[in-house]
């Protein structure tokens, strides 16, 4: 596989503010990569650096093997879909689509034909004569994508393109973008703050925080083996439960501090007596018959969505449980809960790193 985008040792400073810290990232051709993280984590800065709208302070940025550090955006052959779509309001849909071609001096008839072809694949054929202000949000989104597709660029950059759409349309466009990516065999970098978007769309997820890549890998790898507490809490919904714990004297059990001290068994050997944080995913905690569980927990809040029941305990450190069985539960009940040893994540108390 050829590397389409390569970043090595990339740093970005805004004055004294260190926005990107030693970024190492390589993206193979045809991959769909999601940059995800809370706001201000540097994901948009990283994307804009790829586009050339921001310059990087140190390090190397290569696109299709060529060093791009000082190449202006218009010579990078990269297309971007903006959060605001940034459609040219004084041009029709067709003129929006053909803008890049006309700038390049492509003959009018040829540009028109290209626009019609792209519009046919994105369902815009009937709208070519309209102005952006006459389109709905979803249609504008499609125009923005078509404007990128028509150029056949080296890479597609998406800057939170779905955040202005309503929930139903967002789920629909998620699939549409991914389908389009596969059909074009494109290389895409997708910025989002929504971990579900990242998990469902991408082949490769990059989790960022404070300008640092916390972890990158396949979506399920991040879910199954989060490298640290931050990634563990960020990936997965509802978020992972973190409870203080201490490794037992045999090194194969955890004394977990929820309500009363309770013990869970581990499938690995740890240093006895070490203070740690246990991470338990809500969907990995299951109801069991009384007396057979590892936890006995008092029920606080019960929220039912029909497909699943979300239970929040009334313990000091709140624990969330997702239960798909329809077993009736009421506030004040004491429930018995179990977890498989392999599903217990353990993090260092100080560094937050996975143990």
């Amino acid at each position: 596989m050829t590397k389409q985008i390569e970043l090595s040792g990339v740093n970005k400073y805004y004055g004294a503010f260190h926005a990107l810290k030693n970024i190492e990232l390589s993206i193979e051709k045809g991959r769909f990569v999601a940059l995800v993280g809370p706001s201000g984590c540097g994901k948009s800065t990283l994307l804009r650096s790829l586009a050339g709208l921001e310059s990087i302070s140190t390090g190397d940025l290569k696109i299709a093997g060529e060093l791009m550090n000082n190449v202006p955006p218009r010579k990078r052959d990269i297309a971007m879909v903006f959060q605001s779509y940034a459609l040219y309001p004084h041009m029709t849909v067709e003129q929006n689509l053909t803008y890049s071609l006309r700038i390049r001096g492509v003959p009018k008839a040829q540009a028109r034909k290209a626009a019609e072809e792209v519009a046919a694949t994105t369902g815009l054929s009937q709208l070519l004569g309209r102005y952006p202000r006459e389109l709905s949000g979803g249609q504008r989104q499609r125009v923005a994508m078509s404007r990128a597709i028509i150029r056949d660029p080296k890479a597609f950059l998406f800057d939170e393109p779905l955040s202005n759409l309503d929930a139903a349309l967002r789920v629909h466009m998620r699939k549409e973008i991914r389908t389009l990516h596969d059909r074009l065999g494109a290389t895409s970098v997708y910025v989002t703050h929504d971990q579900i978007e990242a998990m469902t769309m991408a082949d490769h997820v990059v989790v960022m925080k404070d300008g640092v890549i916390e972890q990158q890998g396949a979506p399920l790898e991040l879910y199954d083996r989060p490298a640290n507490r931050f990634v563990a809490g960020f990936i997965g919904s509802p978020a992972m439960n973190f409870v203080p714990a201490m490794v037992g004297e045999d090194g194969r059990s955890l004394a977990v501090d929820v309500g009363e001290k309770q013990t869970i068994v581990l499938d690995r050997q740890l240093q006895p007596g070490r203070k740690v944080t246990a991470g338990l995913r809500p969907e990995h905690l299951h109801f069991v018959e009384p007396g057979q569980g590892v936890f006995r927990l008092p029920v606080g809040i019960v929220e039912s969505t029909g497909s699943a029941t979300y239970i929040t305990t009334s313990t000091a450190a709140e624990v969330t449980i997702v239960e798909t069985s329809r077993r009736p539960v009421r506030t004040g009940d004491i429930i018995d809960v179990s977890i498989r040893p392999a599903d217990v994540h353990v993090f260092d108390d100080q560094t937050g790193l996975r143990i």
Binding site: L53, I78, M80, F82, A86, P89, P132, R133, R151
Partner: protein, 330 residues
């Protein structure tokens, strides 16, 4: 919005009070209904609109109509105080266009308007683009430029009199030192230059206003359009032609028509710099109208010229209103 609110809520109350069978209706007469309408309902809105409309009609509409009427009458010093004077049809117009100085003065006016607008707009747009770059201190410096616009025309005229002065003026000095001219130009008294002397001063006076309006227009173009165009491969020059100019169309239309109105109003500079001379070489319609009316006491001709000017200003106003109505915003 505040007016709407006022209108909405109490009107509901009035409606209920006036509903059939309500006791209020039988007690209150038409007067009471009128008062409550003025207090709470449509009447209040009408009163609010009536005041400015009445003011406009009294202070602008009546003089305008009187001016048009006068252009069709025979007016002399003795009939000034009366309203109904002998009607002469288009005689004033025919006489005016028979005068030898009329066409040259209309030509001067055209040169003055076109030269002033072109100079103000081009320099103003250049400055607006310059300050748009947003270097340190840009907004502060831009504010300073407004000083020229705040100054009274007569003061500007007096200052330009010194600058343009033939023997010791700084403009002649600079042109000579840079080798552009060899002998002094007598800007104000040479018939070949007198009109351009006023144009230069007027360009200086109006540039800042153009710059501010164009700066506002530039600032309202979303930045991501330029980023999108840049990624689409457009260089700075192409971005200017394909994004900036089309997005500024309504602003440019507005400023050119406002410029037409303002330059046709420009009087102070002529009074201060050339007084229309020498030999009408720098005379323009607006100054001539005043000269005819109040120095030669030929009020009918003065009014006739004003009517001709009204036609041009009306045309500019229509362009202005249309261009501000057709704003393109995504």
């Amino acid at each position: 919005m505040a007016l709407r609110h006022h209108h909405f809520l109490p009107e509901g109350v009035v409606f209920r009070a006036n509903a059939p069978g309500s006791p209020v209706r039988s007690i209150g007469g038409p007067m009471k209904r009128l008062f409550s309408s003025i207090r709470d309902g449509n009447g209040f809105d009408i009163v609010l609109v009536a005041f400015p409309l009445g003011f406009l009609f009294l202070m602008a509409g009546l003089p305008l109509l009187y001016n048009i009427l006068m252009s069709f009458q025979e007016v002399d010093m003795f009939s000034l105080g009366t309203f109904l004077r002998p009607f002469v049809g288009f005689k004033n117009y025919q006489e005016l266009f028979a005068q030898p100085e009329t066409w040259p003065i209309l030509g001067n006016t055209a040169i003055f308007v076109i030269g002033s607008i072109a100079g103000q707009f081009l320099i103003g747009f250049g400055l607006a683009l310059f300050f748009w770059v947003n270097f340190p201190g840009a907004s502060w410096l831009r504010g300073l430029f407004l000083v020229s616009w705040v100054m009274p025309g007569l003061v500007v005229g007096a200052i330009w009199n010194w600058i343009l002065s033939g023997d010791f003026g700084v403009l002649n000095f600079m042109l000579k030192e840079t080798g552009i001219i060899s002998g002094n130009i007598f800007w104000r008294s040479d018939p070949n230059y007198s009109l351009y002397a006023v144009i230069i001063a007027n360009v200086w006076l109006g540039t800042a206003f153009n710059m501010i309006l164009l700066s506002v227009g530039l600032a309202s173009i979303p930045g991501d359009l330029y980023e999108a165009a840049e990624l689409d491969g457009a260089n700075a020059w192409q971005r200017f032609w394909t994004i900036t100019l089309p997005m500024m169309r309504s602003t440019i239309g507005a400023i050119v028509s406002l410029g037409l109105i303002f330059t046709l109003q420009q009087f102070d500079l002529f009074a201060a710099i050339t007084s229309g001379g020498p030999n009408n070489s720098s005379n323009v319609t607006q100054y001539w109208a005043w000269d005819l009316s109040f120095r030669q006491y030929d009020f009918a001709k003065g009014a006739t010229i004003s009517v001709i000017m009204i036609v041009f200003v009306m045309f500019a106003s229509v362009v202005y209103v249309r261009s501000t109505r057709h704003e393109v915003r995504g």
